[in-house]
Symmetry: C2
Subunit: 388 residues, 2 copies
């Protein structure tokens, strides 16, 4: 049965080869002071940094450079940005990069004027934002998290070894996001594939939950089929514009909340993956690919019909002469093959996890699960199954 829900997504998307040309018009809506948030040298290598600086200058903006946002943005880094925003009365935070940079920009936005400690208030305490926020906008260079069109913000508290996501309300969503598939051409294969599995996982986290006849499940099946098709296409040619476009738009569709809003969702793969990243600082998508097959093999019996449906509708597994259990397992095995075929990581050891970390990761993971609520022991078992 469809949930009662509110769907509201006011982010304006500019998509395509000429999408950057809209930046100047958008900038007119905001004040003079812009925090330019980004990661490291990649946006300079592809020439995007100088293009953006030029547009900001032509628009008469005062630019506050804020580089160095890391793949798993830390609480400390976010607080540095918040200080700059508050001290300088920043009017717009422009995030140029992937999900980490955009997540960090949103975190800065809600934290700059918070009187209480933002980590405890917003990420642990899940409180509604009641202080001034600063508008965020984004120029996306990596298709993965969907952060370009939602309120999600995942932050890593290094001191506490805790990585935690929070979804803020639409006021915090990027006001506009510029999506140009060409920016993703120069990404190393490892990052591209990490991003793709992140998207895949977003679909699965929303799909593997509930037993109703929900329209979203049909749409999610279509989305996963499209993603699989485009993954193959960019393995053949990493500069296949059509495939890069599909993947970039899928990253947005996956988490602009439309597909998930009417149904229960899971997100336990993300919960475990976050703690793997907290201990190893590994790429987010790879933390998800390393444990997804083990997690699903561990829990599929509790949601058998849905896993069977996944096998048939997403991976075209033939039903004839097979039990539901066999069909469901074959679907998960095919997911495992997909992970290996496209050079995604299939072992947590490869990500830097060692024997000693396993109980610590399990203990610190938020316990949940759509078809089976996991215990600490369950998580240890899943991690061990993903170890080799």
């Amino acid at each position: 049965m469809l949930f009662d829900f509110i769907y509201y997504n006011p982010t304006k998307i500019y998509f395509g080869k000429n999408s950057l040309s809209y930046l100047k018009e958008e900038l007119k809506k905001y004040g003079k002071k812009v925090l330019l948030a980004y990661g490291f040298s990649s946006i300079k290598k592809i020439g995007l940094y100088s293009e953006v600086i030029q547009i900001l200058e032509d628009s008469g903006k005062e630019v506050f450079d804020f580089p160095g946002i890391m793949p798993n943005p830390t609480y400390k880094k976010m607080m540095e940005g918040a200080k700059i925003v508050k001290d300088n009365d920043i009017d717009l935070i422009l995030a140029v990069g992937g999900g980490s940079v955009i997540d960090c920009a949103k975190a800065i936005s809600v934290s700059a004027y918070s009187k209480d400690d933002p980590w405890n208030k917003y990420w642990i305490g899940r409180k509604e934002v009641d202080n001034k926020i600063v508008p965020v906008a984004s120029i996306l260079t990596l298709a993965a998290t969907g952060s370009e069109a939602n309120g999600g913000s995942v932050i890593t508290n290094e001191e506490l070894k805790k990585k935690k996501g929070r979804v803020f309300s639409p006021e915090v969503y990027p006001k506009f996001s510029i999506l140009n598939p060409l920016y993703t051409y120069s990404l190393p294969l490892y990052q591209t594939m990490s991003g793709i599995f992140d998207i895949f996982s977003h679909f699965m986290e929303q799909y593997f939950s509930g037993e109703d006849d929900n329209v979203s499940d049909y749409l999610l099946e279509g989305a996963m089929r499209s993603l699989i098709h485009s993954t193959e296409a960019i393995m053949v040619n990493s500069e296949d514009y059509e495939a890069r476009s599909n993947i970039m738009w899928l990253s947005t569709i996956a988490l602009n909340t439309m597909l998930g809003v009417s149904k229960p969702q899971d997100w336990e793969v993300h919960a475990i993956g976050h703690q793997i990243s907290a201990y190893t600082l590994c790429a987010h998508g790879m933390s998800l690919s390393s444990i997804s097959p083990s997690y699903y093999l561990y829990t599929y019996k509790y949601g058998l019909e849905k896993f069977k449906r996944f096998a048939i509708n997403v991976f075209n597994i033939q039903e004839e002469g097979k039990s539901s259990d066999e069909i469901a397992r074959e679907g998960i095995e095919t997911l495992k093959d997909y992970i290996k075929k496209y050079n995604m990581v299939s072992s947590i050891k490869e990500l830097g996890v060692n024997e000693e970390m396993i109980p610590l990761i399990a203990k610190s993971t938020d316990k949940g699960g759509a078809y089976k609520t996991l215990t600490e022991e369950d998580i240890i078992n899943i991690l061990r199954d993903s170890y080799n």
Copy 2:
């Protein structure tokens, strides 16, 4: 290849059994004077009219009653509403009903303060709106057109015997829309099925175009599969909340522009259907069901691969031992079976078209078509094929 596009949809959706409870909060954002636009007695029969009046009164609003909006809202009716809005300085147009009522509300919104004749300026001349507009909101009682979350407004000029749609920019979209599937329970089967085929046609108009590998086509296949599944469910039980919910949410998803924005689209079935309605005043969805199979059988050879894909992915047609042509035809024949099975209209004669009208309808139809641009003669042939 994905088009360059801008996607921006600021309509806030309240969905579910308790969605009307949000109306009071939303009303606070607007001034005192509300034009209450609706059709005939159906919203009174289900008790919705008195509920809405109560909430408006509790909110201190001055209500201007505007009943009698007909299934194919006329230019004359729309101009009546526009006069009331201008004369009384209305602050909000609240449309309670199906797509016709919401389309008419948007037409009133853009026309009230237009200095030029709105029909010529906006529907024929396709000009950008440059006059004051009045905010529109909706409470949906019929799942069909998707008007609850877009800028579409189809108006019939009775004098000219021309029905014409126009898509306005996001400023004209409903500010909020309240979607309660329970409101659709009491609809006669004929209207329910007409609405369902309208939704189906919206998916097909976006699907049957282009030859690329576009993510939207995968999503559209999922959407059509879900719609077929839910059609069967409400034939079994017209008060199946799950199915009614799926259908209502599908009506919004079909035309909130997200699925179509990245690809070419068709809309020639709608163009012909509009002129059938202009001559007969028949239900919109039934005009589409009556001609879709003939139109697709007439043109499928020009987009053979897409029609083959449709047959396989939407209607599960088995491929073995068949040519592409056979598979494609079987898909369209199955669509015809679907139309007949669920009591949708499959003959234009049944809608009131007579022999004399056929050339007039063909002449007055806007000529287009995704895989084949239709001539007047083509349209005559298609109409004749749909006549019996």
